[in-house]
């Protein structure tokens, strides 16, 4: 244990995701040894990001205005919505330049063991968007892990009666890998999602 404010700093850093007590201590001492200017800039950014950035009123992505950059862009296709778990997934899909529609950020995935059910996510908001919009396709782009799949299962069932096309991102073999190293689940999915190549 350190005295007063130093320990407070270590405790605060230790509450961040992925940072254990040892890392917290290392970062704390790095900050103590750093230039005052650098630390002030970091503190400034922290305060500013909290004050300026909030969540888009339409899609739940991070935004500096009431709506995010993508929802404000008139060139985006308003008939397709891509549903993702986190804002970082929007960034990842935007990098592919494959998708010209808009997004819906759920804020996580269904994980009952962590106490997260559909009510803890932005599912209601998604249903509202579908009820009063001209949306014809919903792409489910939740993570290809258990919670992501369960979330897609739940949403598929909710969307079924709404008469929109529901698609799920294909999962399959990582590009650049060898087939023999793929696990059964990945390989099984790749088989399920196989597509015709002769047309």
């Amino acid at each position: 244990m350190y005295e007063g404010i130093v320990q407070d700093l270590i405790d605060e850093l230790g509450r961040l995701p992925g940072i254990g007590p040892k890392s917290a201590q290392r970062i704390a001492f790095h900050l103590l040894n750093a230039d005052a200017v650098d630390v002030r800039r970091l503190a400034g950014v922290l305060v500013e990001v909290k004050a300026k950035v909030h969540f888009c009123a339409i899609c739940g992505n991070v935004a500096e205005e009431e709506q995010c950059r993508i929802c404000r862009d008139p060139r985006r296709d308003t008939t397709a919505i891509c549903v993702v778990e986190e804002p970082k997934d929007v960034v990842a899909i935007e990098r592919t330049r494959e998708f010209r529609g808009r997004y819906h950020v759920l804020g996580g995935a269904i994980s009952p063991i962590e106490g997260i059910g559909p009510d803890e996510l932005r599912v209601k908001e998604l249903m509202q968007r579908l009820a009063n919009g001209d949306i014809t396709e919903v792409i489910l782009a939740t993570d290809p892990n258990l919670e992501g799949e369960a979330t897609a299962t739940y949403l598929t069932r909710m969307l079924k009666p709404l008469n929109v096309r529901v698609t799920r991102l294909a999962s399959g073999l990582p590009v650049g890998g060898d087939l023999e190293y793929a696990d059964e689940i990945t390989l099984g999915r790749a088989f399920e999602g196989r597509r015709s190549v002769d047309d």
Partner: protein, 242 residues
Amino acid sequence: MNLYRDEGIVLRTQKLGEADRIISLLTRSNGRVRAVAKGVRRTKSKFGGRLEPFMHVDVQFARGRTLEVVTQVESSSAFPQAIVGDYARYTAGTAMLETAERLVAEEGEPAVQQFLLLLAALRSLATGAHEPTLVLDSFLLRSLALAGYAPSFGDCAGCGAPGPHRAFSAGAGGMLCAVCRPAGSATPATETVALLGALLAGDWSTAEAIDTRHRKAASGFVAAYLQWHLERGLRSLVHVER
């Protein structure tokens, strides 16, 4: 390196650092084991999808100071696909995994019966042999019984007087005679009690012959009994689709 091999079911995973996960497993020979799977979140990880919850795996661990390290893993049965594609199965299955995690201590003691019970229950869920909530309730009662909290749905849980009896109290251990019943006991319908008894015994033909409208009440008594015996409530139970 001190290596050992075991058969296990993945109960829960937690992110660790940039690309690792802590995997909690119920194993056949070493009880509950917590192990680090290094690099498992990278798309090119050799573990692939084998360390997701509901997976039944053959796994090799290296003994560590606080946590074991997963060194190899082969799938024995891939339950996740069949379970995760059906929301009722998924939510019932998740409650089973959480229960197993809570009822089996992390001590390296074998918990063979708990392991076999969970394996059978997951197989039943995955094949759709029975209604997911019935599989869950049967699993909960039998897992509690293995942990030393067997409820009585026949003879009086207080004095052993032969049943059937009319009163139920989670705190007193099940059904109670007129003398032993505490104030405020519930009085479930005869069919509900019969259903609970059949679920505890794993007697599916009796359980499924009882009118389905008694299932909800039975689930309520199972939940009350479970919550009484666990210090903290089960988080996933409220999310189970009934």
